[in-house]
């Protein structure tokens, strides 16, 4: 009976295509920082037509300095849209920190970047930075809007 039901629907099972979500992993170091006003930012490339479901950050080497502080993972529209400012206190090495479901882009179920863009990792810095490294992950949905 179940098989009969399958065949009665349209489209049927054979019309489906599998797409795999995956994490895109980047390593970053303090050498990648672009110094801006009171902030150090790492820019990661975002190609056009890319649907992102989640983000995560890890600091594997502490960003040096007494006032250094993680300010978020996001983009030019919302610097902490993926992992909120406050998710990491200070800028000390530690484990993987995922974006909470309350983060701006998680609330919307992800974000579709229709045009080329940049993902930003931002630290508040009070002095020249000489140490600091880690990883950033973006969960790519695997679907495109391309027709």
């Amino acid at each position: 009976m179940a098989i009969t039901t399958q065949w009665m629907v349209s489209p049927d099972e054979r019309d489906s295509v599998a797409h795999l979500p995956y994490w895109k992993e980047y390593s970053w170091t303090h050498d990648d920082f672009v110094t801006e006003t009171a902030a150090a930012v790492v820019h990661f490339p975002m190609p056009a037509d890319c649907w992102v479901l989640a983000g995560a950050v890890q600091i594997t080497e502490t960003v040096d300095g007494t006032a250094q502080d993680f300010d978020g993972l996001g983009d030019d529209s919302d610097p902490d849209g993926w992992v909120a400012d406050g998710s990491i206190v200070g800028a000390t090495a530690g484990g993987i920190v995922p974006g909470a479901l309350a983060a701006a882009y998680m609330v919307t179920g992800g974000k579709h970047y229709t045009a080329v863009d940049v993902i930003t990792l931002t630290f508040e810095v009070a002095a020249d930075v000489t140490t600091g490294e880690g990883k950033v992950w973006l969960l790519i949905g695997g679907l495109t809007a391309e027709v």
């Binding site: 390593s27 484990g95 995922p98 974006g99």
Partner: protein
Amino acid sequence: MSITTQFMVSPVEADSEAKLPYWKEFDWSYADAISDVIYFPVVAGDFILDVAVSVTTAITGGTPDIEGVGDAAGATTWIADANITGAVAGIVNSRPAETNKATGGKYYSTNSYIKMTISGSAATGAGKFWMLMSGLEA
């Protein structure tokens, strides 16, 4: 202009690596329970995104129930008692409002466990237990 923007960033696209999330599957039985708790191992460095449970043989004996799925931080940090029973039809997973799901998953820095509490005096009960592993290495 778009291409120029790509080249201005550091790191560049070619520096990235793809990592795949996957489900880690366990069989469970009421006979695995220690004082009504079944423990599933978590390895230091695991970043777990979700958990899911199925019941293939209903729990019987006593007052049959699954009383929650949690970890060392609490018995229901993954799935609340109210959201799972001992005779589940289909698969039950963690809901967005539940503690560890709301934070986007949980990173375990040391060897630990996820635990599922079942009702006392269980005489039958079996099924599958899954952890959605992020696939990321801390």
